[in-house]
């Protein structure tokens, strides 16, 4: 397919999934006729018709709830939530039903839905369009929560999430939707209908985005490019070589990769945009200390969003973890 942005990678994943399996349907607000406010579903209506690509009424509980019902019947619905904050009206359906359908049916009828959530700040959006709610879902048992950060992972993980029998909360870092391009091959990452192991890997393992022996930065989503920049700066300025671990899966966490990298480097920093209190970073930090404290030269530190409502956008850059704040955090860990 050539060089794609993340939006194009997601779009390709959806198209390939829909072409391969006619049980895949796409629903949400403004997803059909316009292809979604971010254009992730562009072209699907023309290609797959209005029964499989549906502009729904404006009602997130209804959308998620209907998707669950469709899944019970055997379809594979992919729901778009227009912006992060607008998932909250669908919260009950996700945590009470999607998360528990398999459990409530002896594992026979999982709610095989994918809930796509463009999330986070940095796009100069108005109030209440920039939340990072991933930890809320990661705390709810029964869900898988993933977040691709490259165009290729976007495509591959989309295919995997759709094929996965369990409900997947698919966090899309909107800030880097079009931040860069990457070669995404036409070939599928696994053979659809037979991709168990590869599919599982895509939805449960972290990816090493950079290798280095002195420090590991553990992150996901919009802060990944910033960590890579910070790593380069550390290499330049202090000859410190960093590993950057792209979590990809937020539930389950890839505990082996997390702990191994922290043990190897002896120093670890967790970075995310969401608020700190009981966020993904808190879990990562706890896991590392619990399992590898004796390997650590310094405590694991966190650079995160603050425990405040996401600010109005004139100040969003003050809120968002910056390369400089990441460096500050890294220095704390390095100089401990």
């Amino acid at each position: 397919m050539g060089e794609l942005t993340m939006v194009e990678g997601l779009n390709l994943g959806l198209r390939q999934a829909m072409a391969a399996d006619d049980r895949v349907v796409v629903l949400g607000e403004d997803v059909a006729q316009t292809g979604g406010v971010f254009r992730v579903t562009a072209g699907l209506l023309a290609e797959f018709g209005e029964e499989r690509v549906v502009d729904t009424p404006l009602a997130e509980a209804g959308i998620v709830g209907a998707a669950i019902g469709m899944a019970v019947y055997g379809l594979l619905p992919v729901v778009e939530i227009q912006f992060d904050v607008f998932v909250y009206p669908g919260f009950e359906q996700i945590v009470v039903h999607a998360a528990r359908y398999a459990w409530r049916t002896k594992g026979e009828v999982p709610a095989s839905i994918v809930v796509r959530i463009p999330f986070g700040g940095g796009v100069r959006a108005p109030e209440l369009h920039s939340d990072s709610p991933e930890a809320l879902f990661a705390h709810v048992p029964g869900l898988k929560v993933v977040c691709p950060t490259t165009p290729r992972d976007a495509r591959d993980m989309m295919l995997a999430a759709i094929e996965d029998p369990d409900p997947v909360i698919f966090m899309e870092p909107k800030r880097i939707y079009r931040a860069g391009r990457q070669e995404v091959p036409d070939e599928l990452p696994f053979s659809i209908g037979n991709g168990h192991k590869e599919r599982e890997d895509l939805l449960s393992t972290a990816r090493i985005a950079r290798e280095g022996a002195d420090l590991v930065m553990i992150t996901y989503g919009p802060t990944l490019p910033l960590c890579l920049q910070a790593a380069d700066r550390l290499a330049e300025e202090r000859s410190v070589e960093s590993t950057v671990l792209d979590l990809r899966s937020l539930y389950p966490l890839d505990v082996d990769a997390i702990v191994a990298s922290a043990s190897r480097c002896g120093r670890a920093l967790v970075v995310h945009e969401a608020p700190r209190m009981s966020g993904i970073g808190a879990e990562v930090s706890s896991l590392i200390h619990e399992r590898a404290m004796l390997d650590l030269e310094a405590p694991v530190m966190r650079v995160t969003g603050f425990d405040v409502p996401f600010p109005q956008f004139a100040n969003e850059d003050d809120y968002l973890p910056s390369v400089d704040r990441i460096l500050l955090g890294a220095r704390k860990v390095l100089d401990f």
């Binding site: 029964e51 009424p57 009602a59 019902g69 619905p77 359906q93 398999a102 594992g107």
Partner: protein, 384 residues
């Protein structure tokens, strides 16, 4: 028996002042007998479950004594391939679709996994839904999916008068009407949501009139009349299958009993009202009607009651023969794709510790008002 309010379909009279209507087309004598058998089975289940709760052999239980017509009637109107979505109030509906009674009892006994849950696809019966009105969007989504797949099936969901206040009720009805989904919304208006009476729940006098907000038909029916419940549901299903979309049915009745075994209605209503309504209860009423029709004789009736009792006795035995489920039941089936690593660790943790004693049996329970009693044991049963 009083005349019903206007616009309420009633078929079964009292054989005295209020004349019987005619049996609707589509219901032969065999059907009438089978429908009666269903009512008897539901009633027997309910009585038995209440007794089991009193004896502490199951936990809190949401009884439905008197509401059997609203359950058996609509279900009998469904085709076998149609899906139904019960709330906790229709908890035993599955037994009319092949779910073992022991499974439902076991759910109330606090068993999960293979003991307390069933495979909805096997019976076209969704899991018993506890959070109010949340299953309505599922019923809509399912029937919508069937429509997309060109399968000629419909869905039906049950819910109460209180459920109409939830946002999910509204979103489900709106979705169904916009997308012309073949589904039936069957509202059991028993006039109470725990202690909250209808007039504190809504400003409308009826629930059926809410259908206007969705440009769908709204129908009222005597909720104590199984034939009338069958008839309005069958009509609604015909409409649905003809591609004409959803229908809202209001089955007007009364919650004759407590909300659940942990509820004491004396705290909030005059129980003599309930007494009045008791005269309309559907099991005795259908029995009299069938006797008036000459379709049911005493022997058949007695046989049915015996059969139901045997079924229940068997179910209780089965339930009580279940061993305390192993600790892996916590982790099994949470993910259809298998255990994440933390589950294995969790099991290890459990195995390293001493296992707490089994919780059953619970021991005898107060006959009512558990929640109002300040001297309850530290772990009162609650909920539903």
């Amino acid at each position: 028996m009083d005349e019903p309010e206007p616009n309420i379909l009633r078929i079964i009279g009292d054989g005295a002042g209020v004349p019987d209507g005619t049996v609707p087309d589509g219901l032969g004598d065999k059907d009438l007998i089978e429908l009666f058998r269903w009512l008897v089975l539901l009633r027997t289940f309910d009585l038995r479950a209440v007794a089991l709760q009193r004896q502490g052999r199951i936990g809190t239980y949401a009884l439905y004594w008197g509401e059997e017509a609203t359950q058996a009637g609509p279900l009998y109107a469904c085709e076998d391939a149609d899906w139904v979505f019960p709330s906790y109030r229709q908890n035993a509906i599955g037994i009319l679709r092949g779910v073992p009674a022991a499974t439902v009892l076991s759910w109330w006994r606090g068993y999960g996994g293979v003991h307390g849950f069933y495979n909805p696809r096997e019976h076209r019966v969704a899991p018993i839904c506890v959070p109010i009105a949340t299953h309505l969007p599922h019923a809509v989504g399912l029937a919508w999916a069937a429509k997309i797949r060109r399968d000629p099936i419909a869905s039906l969901s049950w819910f109460g008068d209180g459920a109409t206040s939830e946002g999910d009720f509204h979103e489900a009805l709106n979705f169904a009407s916009v997308l012309k989904v073949p589904t039936v919304f069957f509202c059991v208006n028993n006039q109470w949501a725990i202690s909250t009476p209808l007039h504190k729940q809504m400003a409308t006098k009826t629930i059926s009139e809410k259908a206007a907000a969705y440009a769908m038909p709204g129908v009222r029916v005597d909720g104590f009349d199984p034939l009338a419940c069958w008839k309005v549901t069958r009509d609604a299903l015909d409409r649905a299958r003809a591609g004409e979309g959803p229908t809202l049915i209001e089955a007007y009745c009364y919650r004759i009993m407590a909300h659940g075994t942990a509820d004491d209605p004396r705290l909030y209503r005059n129980e003599s009202d309930a007494e009045k309504w008791k005269a309309l209860e559907p099991v005795g009423r259908l029995a009299s009607f069938l006797r008036r029709l000459g379709v049911l004789d005493e022997d058949t009736e007695a046989e049915m009651r015996d059969e139901a009792k045997t079924t229940m006795a068997q179910a209780v035995k089965e339930m009580e023969s279940i061993e305390q489920p192993g600790q892996e039941i916590l982790f099994d089936h949470v993910y259809a794709s298998g255990y994440p690593w933390s589950f294995t660790e969790g099991l290890d943790e459990l195995h390293a510790a001493e296992r707490p004693p089994a919780v059953k049996p619970l021991g005898p329970q107060p006959t009512s008002g558990g929640t109002s009693d300040h001297d309850l044991p530290p772990q009162p049963q609650q909920g539903v």
